[in-house]
Symmetry: C2
Subunit: 216 residues, 2 copies
DNA sequence: TAATCTACTTAACAGTGTTAATCAAATTGG
DNA sequence: CCAATTTGATTAACACTGTTAAGTAGATTA
């Protein structure tokens, strides 16, 4: 690598880095403001003009940092997917027994939904089209988070504690069980209160795991 | 009741009825156009101006027949709830055995979702706030459709084929199971295809009913 | 110092839901 | 039969939205 030699070159490089950094900062500020607004107003009452006003810039400035509104929202959802994936992996790593693992994964899933209703709604109910947008870099696709689940089911079958069968189908069944309750709470919190969700969480997991358990 | 005697009175009454009828017709035409547009464009790409254009009226005319956009959409959802309720009742009435009844109700639920994805989405995922709007007349609340489910569960417990327990909790569990799969399909049809839903329908019902079944 | 480039702004377009003012035609009362 | 009024619809307008194009200070470069 060639080092800058003259002072002028060094200054130029420093200034370029500084500008790069400031650009990154503003991008971050836009996302933070957008995130706050999203949580406060919800996805519908969420406008670029409001985001801009919140950080003291004109609305069109956002277009210098994001292609359009979708790209901004998608960046936020992407971060939520990262958190989601980490929490699921963390839960799975906390215990070895397949059945216990399915339980903690399920609980982690419930907790993510309960703690991030707005993002859950975007990820799984409203903007799941985002799942199928290619990521800019060659990272794993978002949906890879579910490998945690299929792995646990697979391990359970191999250990002989789950009925042999289609791993994908079993995982889908388990997924739809937990998703059903979480999404019902998000859609109609007045009818399905958070308390009801918490009370029924374990029942759902019982039914899910019990339904898949090897019948003696 | 006093009959109109003079010709003038009779004409007046007839004309009044005619105008009433025409008003009803236009209201119906608005709803039909709105329904078609809803199915074609989805809830997001659905505007009053487009509805108006489709029936050859100015956009503001709609406000003479509906308080606002929500009331128009709600009227459509209301009709969907009617169809939903009828289909569930019809299914439940087709068979007496509680377990078999739970099965046919579940299947009817799946079929409604598969046949009416746009309305299902509005009813259970996007505009479920509508559930809690008072109906104009003193009819039963929309949610009454679920009595069909709780009745079947109740009957199952009384017949001794389901584990005794909280009827509401059991019904909720069953509901979230079927809702989970249907709503996943609606949110991400590319990942959860209709075929997958049809293939897993019975598995889900097995797990749901099996999980609630009296353990011997 | 002059030219260029960068970050940002204002102006504008096409669209939305919605309200107020208007207008013609039908209905009514004398 | 004519005047007053009500009815059903319209156009104009407001305040929003996402988005694009043109313009503008200020830093950077040659």
């Amino acid at each position: 690598m060639i080092e800058p030699v003259t002072i002028a070159e060094r200054v130029r490089k420093g200034s370029s880095q500084r500008r790069e950094q400031e650009k990154e900062n503003l991008r971050r500020a836009i996302m933070d403001a957008a995130g706050e607004l999203l949580l406060a107003q919800g996805y519908d009452g969420f406008s670029l003009r409001q985001v801009a006003e919140r950080i003291g810039y004109s609305a069109t400035t956002i277009y210098l940092y994001f292609k359009d509104k979708d790209e901004l929202v998608f960046s936020l959802i992407d971060e939520a997917w990262d958190r989601f994936g980490r929490e699921l992996e963390q839960a799975a790593a906390s215990i070895a027994d397949p059945i216990a693992q399915l339980r903690v994964i399920g609980r982690a899933y419930f907790n993510f939904g309960l703690n991030n209703p707005v993002y859950y709604q975007l990820m799984f109910m409203q903007r799941s089209d985002f799942l199928f947008c290619a990521k800019p870099d060659e990272e794993l696709p978002r949906i890879a988070s579910f490998v945690v689940l299929t792995n646990a089911v697979q391990a359970g079958i191999e250990a002989g504690v789950l009925k042999p069968g289609d791993v994908q189908a079993y995982s889908l069944t388990a997924w739809s069980l937990v998703h059903g309750l979480v999404s019902l709470w998000i859609s109609m919190p007045q009818l399905i209160t958070e308390g009801i969700v918490r009370d029924n969480m374990d029942t759902i997991l019982d039914v899910a795991i019990g339904g898949l358990l090897l019948q003696k």
